[in-house]
């Protein structure tokens, strides 16, 4: 999509949202939602996300708003990819903008930082995208809920398929920070549990965004693994795939890869997308459930573009907020927190539930195999893996959380 059309669409939507808000102001005060994300730090992921929630807001307000005609008004802020800016901005939204609750964030550390501010100020925070499981478990707090399936869930979804492979010698490659470390640890533990005969023969930990792909591929190949578990993503993944393909790393080896099936990562690879990798992701063009088709149509009509996974998350986050407010019947934090527990929301992926025990939603992901069709990477043989199946029982999960 060209810049011009993107800008004008943006303006149109903003206008629609504002117009809705103006109309409602006659009836009642709008409900203000504070939203923070890394719009300049990671535009490729956060802009589809923003389009997702803007669509949801437009739909909610067009349907007459909430609590008897009050419109949703989102106060959106950029954290620039820095946790300290996110902390300040969260404070600003709470103190100055008087928002009813907070949502957003992409990076795990920023999500955790905002969660801490929310807990201290006793404000609800719906963490939309952070993958770290600390946000719901080891550093969970009473005011924070998380929508997207976390690292351990996604790794678990892949293990089912990985365990069916004949491969016994595994190598891993992951970015060297908490996300990569947690993903590798979870994958290893779950795979070992199902297949005690596997061994991990090599690990590579390239610095995020700075992979020396040629050397990394060589080093992996030298360990002669039968299968590879990959956690790299974005520019690192593109380099890894190109070098690995050129050097034949993937010839005759299974690859299991986290998130690679998400359009955010698969689309930029175009016809060079890897084939036959077992991945988690989102085959946006193939999901034919009515709830997804409805979302897809609305999204394409609004933006003349296809949704990324971030779009689904942003859309669902705002729908969750609307459902919570409707269920609570107010915007008071205690009522909202209570409403969030066990809340069921209709998402493009079907009904999801926010577990009372650990504040995690049961949103799942699609597990399948990558392929190239018509010069584009896509997923085949996929299935939807319901998040609920990959979470520990609620009472066990609750024990992972600090005492309230």
């Amino acid at each position: 999509m060209s810049i011009l059309s993107r800008l004008s669409l943006h303006g149109f939507l903003a206008l629609a949202v504002t117009a809705g808000a103006c109309g409602a102001a006659l009836a009642a005060d709008p409900i203000r939602i504070g939203e923070i994300n890394s719009y300049t730090g990671l535009p490729a992921f956060t802009i589809p996300y923003r389009q997702g929630w803007e669509l949801a807001v437009a739909e909610i307000n067009a349907a007459g708003g909430l609590l008897g005609g009050r419109m949703l008004e989102v106060v959106s802020r950029d954290d620039g990819g820095k946790p300290e800016d996110a902390v300040r901005t969260a404070n600003e939204l709470i103190a100055n903008e008087k928002v009813a609750l907070l949502t957003g964030t992409y990076f795990s550390h920023i999500g955790l930082a905002v969660a801490d501010v929310a807990a201290r100020n006793k404000v609800l925070f719906l963490a939309a995208e952070p993958l770290t499981d600390a946000i719901i478990w080891s550093k969970g707090n009473p005011y924070t809920f998380r929508l997207r399936p976390g690292t351990a869930m996604q790794a678990g979804m892949l293990v089912d398929d990985a365990a069916k492979l004949s491969a016994r010698r595994w190598a891993t490659v992951a970015p060297n920070y908490e996300y990569g470390q947690a993903a590798v640890a979870a994958f290893k533990e779950k795979l070992k549990a199902k297949r005690p005969d596997v061994e991990f023969v090599a690990e590579q930990w390239p610095a995020q965004g700075k992979i020396d792909a040629g050397a990394t591929v060589q080093a992996l190949a030298a360990a002669k693994p039968e299968a590879i578990f990959n956690v790299t993503f974005g520019p690192d993944l593109a380099k890894f795939v190109r070098e690995g393909t050129t050097r034949g790393l993937f010839d005759g080896r299974a690859v299991v890869s986290l998130l690679t099936g998400e359009p955010e990562y698969l689309v930029p690879l175009k016809d060079e997308a890897p084939e036959g990798w077992i991945v988690t992701g989102y085959p946006w063009d193939q999901v034919k459930t009515p709830e997804h088709v409805g979302f897809l149509t609305a999204y394409r009509n609004a933006y003349n573009d296809f949704p990324r996974l971030g779009s689904v998350v942003g859309y669902t986050a705002m729908k969750t907020i609307a459902a919570a407010i409707a269920k609570a019947g107010s915007t008071d934090t205690p009522a909202l927190v209570e409403a969030m527990k066990g809340l069921s929301v209709e998402s493009p992926f079907g009904i999801i539930t926010f577990r009372a025990g650990d504040h995690q939603s049961t949103m799942g992901a699609f597990v399948g195999t990558t392929a190239v069709k018509n010069g584009q990477g896509t997923m085949i043989d996929w299935r939807y893996a319901d998040g609920a199946a990959f979470l520990p029982p609620e009472d066990e999960a609750a024990k992972l959380r600090p005492a309230e």
């Binding site: 810049i3 802009i47 620039g80 550093k139 060589q218 080093a219 380099k239």
Partner: protein, 611 residues
């Protein structure tokens, strides 16, 4: 064995890419003494432009034409930057151009985003070079072989240019001695434009040649610029041969480093740089810079007149009353601004009176913040212990690093401080058990009497005012004089019985302590500490504040901190392309106030009084 050879070749290909970018940076610095912080931006421009052409013209001609177009685009924009911006700043204090190029970095980031969108672009592979050959049974990509050949070819080309053409000889002469070249009647202005063109062209070429290796993305600039600086400094500033050698060294270190200790990739290059600089203070092939004589001296520092003191006291009193009117968020912003004022003032002690530029001052800010947070988290002790621990740990760290750093000068010193900051950063980033890794340490809130935001604000105000007053007194006290003497003329200072290094070392430690106090205050103000506290961007923010306000005045860094933080927080909140706007404002300020804001003001008002 064959595997190690293949790894070696992989390192060579990496080295070639590094060399292209670093040689341009080295040439620019060698001739113009400009620390081109925007070098990574030209690398990114080259990559995007090449990718765009190659995708638009889908053929072999499109690909190679794209490479040429990318390099040319970067070169032309580099020349434009020199003509439109840098040449107005040649008479400004050293490193002031760094501030201007920082503004360019911000503008380019948003310009590229607006032009080519947020998504990573995957360009085509090099036509005819997509395959691999087997050498000693190991697969080696053809394109790697191409790069391996190209690096030495460009090196040879540059050698011929500098040794066999009149222009090149002039450039070399200018690298040796700028004043002399000017005296020879060389048109320096054209020379500088051409050098910027050549340097940025090389950066753009380096970027363009990356297309076949991976995607083109918005983070390329920052990822490359630091590494290019490391190569240049390790090789020796201004030395193309040194850059070549250093690129080889670093390329191989990365290739083999990941075999021995995969986790070390984050910090390896900085460790190497630190070791090289400690052993060879001017890099592998660098030579001690010719002492610039007759350069513009800074103005004489004079104590503020009494009315200014009263005004400052009135200002502090007004700030102390702020909680009566300001809301919670305004107090947080004020607290943050105060902390940055102290941080900038501590950096100024180094850069102003000390004459030592630091690219890694965030090290001590972050160390202070981590000291406070670690005391809080692991010892369960609160503010009463955590806050005093902050300057202590920071001072201890600065004491160790300073011993090495004060043995260097200029950009070498600055890069060694950066190396220490990066090493600390990677410790914080990777030692998850203690520091929480990238997720940081949370919940570090002040308890007891300072739990309320207004109370903590008053505490911050008191400590920051005390710190700033102390730093100000130091400058006018014998110790500050000694530092300034050592900065103005180390030769004379030593001939007057002054141990210049020892005093610089003490100043380094003191600056570290004050920065640490700022960091400790920050930890409790925001309740959290992250590796970003130690990040390059935090160091750069400090530099920008000091330079923006004016390094040659005492009030400069304070004003710079307020202006920069004010701009940034306000921008972040309301403007979509805030980075471009911020960068544009910095560029305008730089052009309007070539001595920094306060420097320019006092220059204007001081002129009638003096001379």
């Amino acid at each position: 064995m064959s595997f190690l050879l293949a790894q070696f070749l992989s390192g060579l290909a990496q080295a070639s890419s590094l060399f292209l970018v670093a040689s341009g940076l080295s040439i620019i610095f060698g001739v113009t003494r400009i620390v081109n912080f925007a070098h990574g931006s030209f690398y990114m421009i080259g990559a995007y432009a090449a990718c765009w052409v190659a995708l638009t013209v889908d053929s072999a001609a499109g690909f190679w034409g794209g490479i040429a177009a990318g390099a040319l685009a970067a070169g032309i924009l580099g020349a434009v930057m020199e003509r439109g911006l840098l040449r107005r700043l040649y008479r400004s204090p050293e490193l002031f151009q760094l501030l201007a190029t920082f503004g360019v970095v911000l503008v380019v980031q948003d310009a590229v985003l607006a032009l080519w969108g947020p998504e990573d672009l995957l360009g085509p592979r090099a036509p005819g070079l997509t395959g691999r050959v087997r050498l000693w049974g190991q697969p080696v990509p053809l394109y790697d072989l191409f790069l391996m050949v190209l690096g030495p070819v460009v090196f040879a080309g540059l050698w011929l240019l500098f040794h066999k053409t009149r222009w090149g000889v002039l450039v070399r002469a200018a690298t040796e001695d700028r004043e002399m070249t000017a005296a020879l009647g060389v048109n320096q202005s054209h020379l500088f434009t051409a050098v910027l063109f050549l340097g940025c062209l090389l950066a753009g070429l380096g970027g363009a040649l990356q297309i076949p290796r991976g995607s083109v993305n918005l983070h390329m600039d920052m990822a490359m610029v630091v590494e290019a600086f490391v190569v240049v400094v390790v090789g020796g500033l201004g030395s193309v041969g040194g850059a070549f050698l250093a690129a080889l060294l670093i390329g191989q270190l990365q290739a083999f480093g990941i075999l021995i200790f995969p986790e070390i990739t984050l910090v390896l290059v900085f460790l190497v740089m630190a070791v090289v600089l400690v052993l060879r203070p001017y890099g592998l092939l660098g030579r001690p810079p010719v002492e610039a004589r007759g350069g513009e001296a800074g103005p004489v520092l004079r104590p503020a007149p009494p009315w200014a003191g009263w005004m400052a006291a009135g200002g502090v009193a007004a700030l102390a009353c702020a909680p009566l009117v300001a809301g919670d968020y305004a107090l947080l912003v004020l607290t943050e601004t105060l902390i940055l004022v102290l941080f900038a003032a501590s950096l100024h002690l180094l850069m102003g009176p000390g004459g030592m530029v630091s690219f890694g001052h965030a090290a001590w800010f972050g160390l202070g913040a981590y000291a406070a947070a670690l005391v809080f988290r692991h010892l369960g002790l609160g503010l009463a212990v955590g806050l005093p621990a902050a300057p202590l740990l920071a001072a201890a760290g600065a004491l160790v690093a300073g011993w090495f750093c004060v043995r260097l000068s200029g950009v070498y010193l600055a890069m060694l401080t950066l190396a220490f900051a990066q090493i600390l950063w990677s410790v914080a980033f990777q030692w998850t058990a203690v520091t929480g890794g990238d997720n940081g340490i949370l919940g570090v809130w002040p308890g007891g009497p300072f739990a309320a935001r207004w109370a903590y604000y008053e505490l911050t105000l008191a400590l920051v005012v005390a710190g700033v007053v102390a730093l100000r007194r130091v400058v006018f006290a014998p110790f500050g004089w000694t530092l300034r003497a050592g900065r103005d003329s180390p030769l004379r200072a030593e001939a007057l019985g002054i141990d210049v290094r020892r005093h610089q070392w003490m100043a380094f430690t003191a600056a570290g302590a004050f920065a640490g106090l700022a960091g400790g205050l920050d930890a409790f103000a925001k309740g959290s500490v992250f590796p970003t506290h130690l990040d390059i961007s935090t160091s750069v923010d400090g530099l920008v504040m000091v330079l923006l306000g004016g390094v040659q005045t005492l009030a400069g860094p304070l004003v710079g901190a307020v202006v920069f933080h004010g701009l940034e927080t306000e921008m972040l909140r309301h403007v979509p392309y805030w980075r471009a706007v911020l960068g544009g404002i910095i560029i305008v300020l730089v052009l309007a106030f070539p001595q920094g804001i306060v420097g320019a003001l006092s220059h204007r008002f001081g002129r009638s009084r003096d001379s």
